[in-house]
Symmetry: C2
């Protein structure tokens, strides 16, 4: 069984767990507590010198990190159900939407969280890096852009059943996890984005969403 260095309530590891669960890939999960800094301790740095979570341990002892790269590997291992596209054009379209959900949604919400949460006062970015003091204006910008992202997403989901089009994909996983992450910093779908609300209820009803 593949081992995932994980943090149960953090959004990025959840992306990998949900993706794997859609494919019925079992993962052994090892909890690494980022809040207390366990990801920056010697034990974990011996596994991943970057100190980021999630990290997948491969059978040959090497590692993969970066959530979407881990998903790409799992897609190759278990191609069905397909979540990243079947041909070059569909792969590109899903990647386009995945990236929008990540950059416009997840990253902006993360900017609010990392630049306001006391535990991250000197760790504005994840992993082993020089100290990055919180930037309050970045939290303000993140909240503004995350709200705009939700508005755009509502427009998209008014005409498409799923983020990347006709079927469920990794773009829905990223987007739904970003929406849930938003609640941590009081960024909410609210009543003015009914298409996001309907889509979210739909995708979160999938059994894999509980992974």
């Amino acid at each position: 069984m593949l081992r995932l260095y994980d943090m149960a309530r953090a959004p990025n590891p959840r992306r990998v767990r949900w993706f794997a669960a859609e494919k019925a890939i079992a993962l052994e999960t090892i909890e690494i507590d980022i809040v207390s800094g366990a990801n920056l301790g010697a034990d974990y740095l011996a596994i991943n010198p970057r100190g980021v979570v999630p990290t997948l341990l491969l059978a040959d002892g090497s590692i993969l990190d970066e959530s979407v790269a881990i998903c790409r590997y799992l897609e190759g291992l278990h191609p069905e159900p397909n979540l990243m596209g079947r041909d070059g054009l569909e792969m590109a379209q899903i990647e386009r939407w995945q990236r929008r959900m990540e950059f416009d949604g997840l990253f902006n919400i993360a900017a609010v969280f990392r630049n306001t949460a006391p535990a991250y006062a000197t760790r504005g970015m994840p992993g082993v890096l020089p100290p990055t003091p919180a930037i309050p204006e970045l939290a303000v910008r993140g909240a503004l852009l995350a709200g705009d992202w939700l508005d755009q997403l509502d427009q998209r989901l008014a005409t498409a059943p799923f983020v990347a089009g006709d079927r469920f994909s990794i773009a829905d996983i990223t987007a739904a996890i970003a929406v849930d992450f938003g609640k941590w910093v009081n960024i909410r779908v609210g009543d003015a984005r009914p298409h996001v609300a309907r889509w979210l209820a739909n995708v979160k009803a999938r059994p894999a969403a509980r992974a």
Copy 2:
């Protein structure tokens, strides 16, 4: 011939042009001047309502944006020379490194540029978005992290001939363009990163690097 809405000196369009040139894919390029805001004018928004560049126009009249998604499409159209991986594991490894070069390198340098250049005083992020005033502290953080990225890249290239390992890939394109972009904001390889300097001279000697 595929049409690319382009800006000759901007880093993201250059990623697509270099990638296409490696595969000998000819592109018709239409210059969109981001500095003057042509990407936010009605003519361009009729093509791409997000107002981002580059955008690829497909034969059926639909568009693709997001540089890496465009590259993914070109990879499918012209699989050789392969630049994004031949199997699931190699695709994942290249994607991992591509994302590191993008997030740790290109995005941090872009943060310096967008938060210091007078032309972008109220456009801290690209495309159609609410006004995002420059955040000077974000430029400071970006410079700090971009320097750390160059240090990490030097360590990597001390033992690997290319960013993702044994062969040239999209990760090298992203990294080399980020290094060149750094010069705009006085972030330089310098004498203390000899492995980056050697690798950069090597990859920039490729004919496609001039695209």
